[in-house]
Structure formats: structure tokens, C-alpha cells
């Protein structure tokens, strides 16, 4: 196929319904990564707290958090996805591909996000927590009023860049049959359109989604950095 043939195909590829398919697929991609990250934030915080705890009673939970995080971060997303995909069939759960993909993205992102949160919590000085204990704050009060507000500027930038990274990882969900951008591209190529044009368009769509978020992330990082800096220089009273 020559280059002019490819150009001639362009108007036939980008019809209304094909664009609608790509648009909906892009929304599924966003849904997968956003859902994964939000679930990851909630459970990641719990795992990070479990790993930091010193209570004898929480020791099994601490061990579980350690093993979960260290193992899940060293298994490829594709393998985890296939484990859930085939595993749910073998065990007789009748789950939709999207549900399976949502579960596996959440499981994976929990492991990664919990490491980011743990690093953020470790950045808060121990003396702050001791001061809160002296002032008779409870565990959740210390967390909500003292630790999290100080850890947040440290946590947010890497979380954001992880979120951007994660959008690209969800491309593998196509292998479980989820109708996201890559799968939409595969459908269009089986309709006979040139793979070069279709996957080129998919590539551009990913870029359009990912680039503004990446820029927003680096903006956020510099702004949070500056505000922390100026807060430190501001007189106390």
C-alpha cells in the first residue's frame, strides 16, 4: 500500500460512527484508570497505615501489606489480568470483561499507590506525631489533622504522575476484551481499515489524554513546592 492510498483512506476511516466508537473507548480508558486510582488511594492508604503500625495485634495485617505490595509490584499487569480473567472463569464467577479489568487495575494500583503514600507519610516528622500524642489526639485525629495535611503535598505529585502512567498501562485491558482504545483500534482494523492509520489515531488519542494531565501534574508539583517554600519563609505570627 502506498502512502497516497493511505491518505485516500482517511475520510473513510474517520466517519461519525467510527469516531463515536473511538470516543466511547477513550471514556472507558479514562474510567479504568480513574477507578483504579481512586480505589488505589483508599486501600493504598489503609495498607500504608498497616505497614507503619507498631501494634502487636496488627502484625498479621502488617505482614499481609508487606507481601501484597512487594509481590504485586513485581508481577506484570498482563499476568495479573490473565490470572483474574481465567481465574474467574475457572472458579465459576460470571464476570464481564470490564469488571475483571476494573478489579485487576484496582488491585495493581493499590500496591503502587500504597508505596507512594507510605513515602509521603514517612516524610512527616516524628516529632509532629509525638506533639499530637501529647495534646491527647486520637489515632484518627492525628492522621486527619496533623499527618495527612503535611503529607499531602509530598504525596500528590507522584500520585498524579502515577495516574498518568496508569492510563497507558490500561491499554493491556484490551487483551481481556474490554472495549477501550486499543480494542476499538483492533475492531477498526478488522473492518479493513489500514492499521497504520487506525493505531496512529489511537496513539494520538492517548497522547491527547495523557499530555495535558502530565502537564497539570508538573504544574501542581512546582506550585506545591513553591507554596511549601513560601510557607516556610513566612513569619510565624
Amino acid at each position: 500500500m502506498s502512502f497516497s492510498d493511505l491518505l485516500g483512506q482517511l475520510p473513510r476511516v474517520f466517519t461519525y460512527y467510527n469516531l463515536l466508537l473511538l470516543g466511547q473507548a477513550a471514556l472507558t480508558t479514562l474510567l479504568l484508570s480513574a477507578f483504579g486510582c481512586i480505589v488505589g488511594l483508599v486501600f493504598g492508604l489503609l495498607l500504608a497505615l498497616a505497614r507503619r503500625s507498631h501494634a502487636r495485634l496488627l502484625l498479621p495485617l502488617k505482614a499481609f501489606a508487606f507481601i501484597y505490595v512487594e509481590i504485586l509490584r513485581r508481577v506484570p499487569f498482563l499476568v495479573t489480568l490473565m490470572l483474574f480473567f481465567f481465574g474467574s472463569q475457572v472458579l465459576g464467577f460470571d464476570l464481564a470483561p470490564l469488571t475483571i479489568a476494573l478489579i485487576s487495575t484496582s488491585v495493581i494500583s493499590t500496591a503502587f499507590v500504597s508505596e507512594i503514600i507510605r513515602a509521603g507519610l514517612d516524610a512527616v516528622k516524628q516529632s509532629q506525631i509525638e506533639a499530637a500524642t501529647v495534646m491527647n489526639f486520637g489515632f484518627w485525629q492525628t492522621l486527619r489533622l496533623v499527618v495527612l495535611p503535611q503529607a499531602w503535598p509530598v504525596i500528590l505529585p507522584p500520585i498524579f504522575s502515577y495516574f498518568v502512567l496508569f492510563i497507558k498501562d490500561t491499554a493491556l485491558a484490551s487483551q481481556a476484551g474490554v472495549l477501550e482504545l486499543v480494542q476499538a483500534g483492533r475492531i477498526l482494523t478488522t473492518k479493513g481499515f489500514s492499521a497504520f492509520i487506525v493505531f496512529g489515531a489511537v496513539l494520538l488519542l492517548y497522547f491527547v489524554i495523557s499530555y495535558p494531565l502530565a502537564r497539570l501534574g508538573s504544574h501542581l508539583e512546582s506550585r506545591l513546592g513553591v507554596s511549601r517554600h513560601s510557607r516556610a519563609r513566612r513569619p510565624i505570627s
Partner: protein, 224 residues
């Protein structure tokens, strides 16, 4: 909901899986070396290349770090044949991984090169070191101390990322897992075993790299 795990049906394939793990390591190792070469060229272009070259490299980095590696390989493997350029699955995956790694490594290496201070080189010269000694005792330890943790985690990410070669029919660890899964139908056993192998392989690589950093360059790297 009643399911009996039968690892006995999968363990005969262990050596087959280990061979696949070796292919994964070789694939990601080759891509890493290629990426290091182009990344070094890219980093030098960013730092000393002038506005045009530096801008081109920047555009390359922004584009490749903001699009999924899977789709990049899709374009190389399924898209380029439309223009008459054909690749074998292994070559397509290797090319895609190399191009992708080059983008990330450009950024990592750029940070490393800028971390060597001029004063340290001058101090070395004052102590009568020749160029080779400067390189061995000042530049390399300094660069490696800064760079080994991000380089090591980049390599681990690439070993994990090489699993997407299975999508294109390369028989590395994940590809062989698909093969064994479709002959034995022992999905849970196959994929948990392969996941375990990935953990062992990447953990081994991390520990090896940490040892190199510890005894080669006196840098401390956290393993867990």
C-alpha cells in the same frame, strides 16, 4: 466454587518457563542497552545540542512518554507493513521497547550528567589524577550513585513491560504461560506460577544491581 489446585500438571513445564524467563531477560536487556545508547545521545543533545536538536529530542521524549508502549508496538508491528516495512514479532517488540526506553532514559541520564559538579573535577585534578582516574574515581561513582536506583527500577519496569511481547506472539515467559494455559487449562496454577517466577527474576535482578552499586560504587540502594 469447588476447585482443586493441581500444580502437578504444571510443574513439568518449569524448565520451559525458565527458558521463557531467560528470553524475557534477554529481550529487556537488549532493549535496555539500546535505550541506554540512544538515551545517552539524547541526553547529550538535550544538554549541548543547541535549540533545534534539543527541541527535537524534547518532542521525542514528550511523545514517547505520553503514549502506551503497547500501542507503539501495534503501530510498528501492524501499521508499518502498510508502508511496506515488515518486522518479525521479536524485532518489532525489541524496536518498540528500545524507542520507549530511549525516551525515559534520556530524562534519567540528563539528571545524572548534571549532578557532577565542576569543583569536584577540579579537586581531582589538583590531587594529580589523570583523565582515566578522574573517570574511575570521581565521575563514574558520582553518576552511578545518583543513577543506579532509577536505572535499576527502569530495568525492572522493562522486564515487566516485556510481558506485552506475548500479545505479538513472542514466546517469552508470558507467551509460554499462554501456550501452557491453552494445552493444560490449569489457568490459576499457570499464572500464579508465572507470577512467582516474575517476582523471583525481578527480585534477583534488583539484588544483583544493589550489590553492584554497593561494592562497585559505594552507593547504598534499598532492595525492599
Amino acid at each position: 466454587m469447588h476447585y482443586v489446585l493441581q500444580y502437578g500438571q504444571v510443574t513439568p513445564f518449569l524448565s520451559y518457563f525458565l527458558g521463557g524467563a531467560l528470553i524475557s531477560l534477554v529481550l529487556s536487556g537488549l532493549a535496555f542497552c539500546g535505550g541506554m545508547f540512544f538515551g545517552l545521545v539524547g541526553a547529550l543533545c538535550r544538554l549541548h545540542g543547541g535549540p533545534v536538536l534539543s527541541g527535537l529530542v524534547r518532542a521525542y521524549v514528550v511523545f514517547f512518554t505520553n503514549t502506551p508502549q503497547l500501542v507503539q508496538i501495534y503501530v510498528i508491528f501492524y501499521g508499518l507493513p502498510d508502508l511496506g516495512i515488515l518486522f518479525s514479532p521479536f524485532a518489532a517488540v525489541l524496536l518498540g521497547m528500545t524507542l520507549n526506553a530511549a525516551a525515559y532514559l534520556t530524562e534519567i541520564l540528563r539528571a545524572g550528567v548534571t549532578s557532577v559538579h565542576r569543583q569536584e573535577l577540579e579537586a581531582g585534578e589538583t590531587m594529580g589524577m589523570n583523565h582515566l582516574q578522574l573517570l574511575r574515581f570521581i565521575i563514574l561513582p558520582h553518576i552511578f550513585r545518583v543513577l543506579l536506583p532509577p536505572l535499576s527500577s527502569q530495568y525492572i519496569m522493562m522486564v515487566l513491560g516485556s510481558s506485552m511481547a506475548a500479545v505479538f506472539g513472542v514466546e517469552e515467559l508470558t507467551g509460554r504461560a499462554f501456550n501452557v494455559n491453552s494445552t493444560t487449562f490449569r489457568s490459576i496454577e499457570v499464572f500464579t506460577l508465572v507470577a512467582g517466577l516474575y517476582v523471583l527474576v525481578t527480585l534477583g535482578a534488583t539484588i544483583l544491581l544493589a550489590l553492584v552499586a554497593r561494592y562497585g560504587f559505594r552507593a547504598r540502594v534499598k532492595v525492599l
